[in-house]
Amino acid sequence: MNAANYLYVSALLFTIGAIGVVVRRNAIVVFMCVELMLNAANLSFVTFARINGNLEGQVVAFFTMVVAACEVVVGLAIIVTIYRSRRSASVDDASLLKR
């Protein structure tokens, strides 16, 4: 199978993630979409590692996973706090700061 197809998939995943961030209201879902985008990037890295024939891309994937995990910790902490204060996880409700 052509490696390029993986790139297409990755791009598709990334796009889905991006669209998800823009259209979904629930903070958790939005965050999950971001994770999806990170994983799309991971897929690209791995694919490129394959194409380029070196391991660096795969190493990056591991780093990404770790970083993503950290992000989850921080992110969930923030989202939970917000949820507790507002009784809502909708990102649209948090719009006091504007203009």
Binding site: V22, S95, L96, K98, R99
Partner: protein, 629 residues
């Protein structure tokens, strides 16, 4: 030693003025006497200088005095220097002589005014400025005096400026003069650009090399200057209003001296006008127009001072005409200037004397029969009258007839036109001056009970008598053996060959006398033999009405300059606020406005922010793509 003297002519009255102004009220008690002494001292210096000049041969009489280098930039070099020659000494003596007399007169005339000291300070300042005008050795020095007398005139016209109309009159005079000054400064600029110098000597030396066009331009500009200062057409409108000043001022400044500065300027610049015939012709035409213009106004005025002012305008018209006739006319212009100085100053002082006795009433229709109450005033005024209408052997006869004669002698249509205008002017002069004398001194009394006409004190009639003597004798003295012509010859260089006489002097004299007689006769019929109403009749011809309104000169200025000027000012005020500043403010508003519009992109919704990022990403990729293509 002698060459150090001329500055004292100016310095003495200037010092007097400074002492009085800076000394303030402390000098109230003796200020007027001090000022008079300063003026007299200046006259003394002038007289002494005259004797010295007389002792020299005609070509060596001029005295120059260089004081210091005034302005020197590049080739533009102007010294503060004085030139006392045959022409200026005439003026010096006229200014200081008549000036001193008027100082003396004013001591009495102004004795009740608690600002008398200030009045004398101004008078002294005027004497100094006027002397600088006639003594400066370059156009720029002349200019300093020129504006100086304008300032003095402004201050004196507005001496009683608590009255708004008087203050306005003063302003009007200054501004009309400034228009003339603009001409003078342009003339100086052209002279410098053309000839590289602005001193009289320098200009005279190089005048032959310059193009006629440039010289004509200089000449016309000098003429503009002269029309402003000498109240000639079309800048004549201020003179009538200038009568707002105290009467001695009218006598000194607005009759005898300052207003004749235009004649001085043109005569002094004879070398330019002689080389620029067009400009010279323009001078003559302006003179002719004004002499008629003033005369016509003079017929319609009931205010004694305004009638005399109109007469002044007209008489200066004669002088300008004379000066515009070229070498043949300069001497007569100056002669008429000097004789006019005597008789008109005398008549003004007479008018002042009348007003003094009549509670400052100026309307001649409220006078009548005053000769019994003011015999001396009547006598001196009458002698001045005879002089101005040109009855031989009084002074005006000699000077005016000569101008008419020279005008005819220029020949051709020009000669006939100018000469006829001058003749006609003589007739009208006779008419309106007779009218003034009759209305004031003859006929029935028309004043009300409050007035107690009485003769003025000695300090006032003394100067009047002296001036009357001048009015009687000066004409004969000046013409006797062509004294004045020969005296002035080195300055104005009359042409050696006499032009053909179109009309012989005798015929001119007879013609003139006939016309004068007609004028006098008409006036007698109209004002002595019939009743004079106390209020000016309303049912008069359009011509009279227009003449009463100064031939619509103010209306003209108002319609052509003031109104459009005011409209323009208002327009520019609005434009400045709304267009120029408006543009600036619009830019500021636009900045704030666009800020306000742009900030609406900040909706507060995190998803819209994400949308921006997505759009930005798409844009970025697209842009980089396009750049690469």
């Amino acid at each position: 030693m002698i060459s150090n003297l001329p500055i004292y002519l100016i310095a003495l009255p200037l010092f007097g003025s400074a002492v009085l102004l800076l000394g303030g009220r402390k000098t109230d008690r003796w200020g007027h006497i001090f000022a008079t002494l300063m003026s007299a001292a200046s006259f003394g210096v002038g007289a002494y200088l005259l004797t010295i000049m007389l002792s020299k041969s005609n070509s060596e009489r001029a005295i120059t005095q260089k004081l210091f280098e005034w302005i020197s930039v590049g080739t533009f070099k102007v010294n503060a220097g004085l030139l006392l020659d045959q022409l200026s000494i005439c003026f010096v003596l006229l200014i200081t002589g008549v000036g001193t007399l008027i100082h003396i007169y004013s001591i009495a005339y102004m004795s009740h005014d608690h600002d008398r000291r200030r009045f004398f300070a101004y008078l002294n300042f005027f004497i100094a400025a006027m002397l600088l005008l006639v003594l400066g050795d370059s156009y720029l020095n002349l200019y300093v005096g020129w504006e100086g007398v304008g300032l003095a005139s402004y201050l004196l016209i507005g001496f009683w400026n608590q009255k708004p109309t008087y203050a306005t009159a003063a302003k009007k005079a200054f501004i009309a003069n400034r228009v003339g000054d603009m001409g003078l400064s342009l003339a100086i600029m052209i002279a410098f650009a053309t000839l590289g110098t602005v001193s009289f000597a320098g200009v005279k030396e190089h005048v032959g090399q310059a193009s006629t066009g440039a010289l004509t331009a200089i000449g016309i500009m000098l003429l503009v200057a002269a029309t402003g200062k000498s109240a000639q057409f079309p800048l004549q409108a201020w003179l009538g209003d200038a009568m707002a000043g105290p009467t001695p001022v009218s006598a000194l400044i607005h009759a005898a001296t300052m207003v004749t500065a235009g004649v001085y300027l043109i005569t002094r610049s004879n070398f330019i006008f002689d080389a620029a015939p067009t400009a010279q012709l323009a001078v003559a035409i302006i003179g002719a127009i004004t002499l008629l213009f003033g005369a016509v106004i003079g017929m319609a005025k009931d205010d004694i001072k305004k009638a005399l002012a109109a007469s002044t305008m007209s008489q200066i018209g004669y002088m300008i005409l004379g000066a515009g006739l070229g070498p043949a006319g300069y001497a007569f212009a100056i002669m008429h200037l000097l004789t006019h100085g005597f008789f008109k100053a005398g008549m003004f002082l007479g008018a002042g004397s009348v007003m003094h006795g009549m509670n400052d009433e100026v309307n001649m229709r409220r006078y009548g029969g005053l000769r019994k109450f003011m015999p001396i005033t009547f006598a001196t005024f009458g002698l001045g009258y005879l002089a101005i209408i040109g009855v031989p052997p009084f002074a005006g006869f000699y000077s005016k007839d000569k101008i008419i004669e020279v005008a005819f002698n220029t020949g051709g249509i020009k000669g006939i036109t100018l000469g006829s205008a001058a003749l006609l002017g003589a007739a009208i002069t006779a008419f309106y001056m007779t009218r003034v004398v009759i209305l004031t001194f003859a006929g029935a009394k028309r004043w009300d009970e409050k007035a107690h006409p009485h003769e003025s004190p000695f300090l006032m009639w003394g100067p009047m008598v002296l001036l009357a003597l001048g009015s009687v004798s000066s004409g004969f003295l000046f013409t006797h053996g062509d004294a004045l012509r020969n005296w002035l010859a080195p300055v104005v260089e009359p042409v050696a060959v006499h032009e053909a006489e179109v009309l012989s002097p005798a015929i001119v004299s007879i013609l003139a006398l006939v016309l004068v007689a007609i004028g006098v006769g008409l006036a007698i019929v109209k004002y002595l033999l019939s009743d004079v109403p106390e209020v000016a009749p309303k049912d008069v011809t359009v011509f009279t009405r227009i003449a009463r309104r100064d031939l619509l000169q103010d209306q003209f200025n108002e319609a052509v300059f003031m109104r459009p000027g005011q409209a323009l000012t208002r327009g520019l005020l609005t434009a400045d606020r709304s267009v120029i500043d408006g543009a600036v403010r619009a830019i500021a508003r636009m900045a704030v406005g666009s800020g306000n519009i742009l900030r609406t992109t900040q909706t507060g919704f995190v998803r819209s922010y994400a949308m921006w990022i997505v759009l930005g990403a798409i844009g970025l990729v697209a842009a980089i793509w396009m750049v690469t293509l």
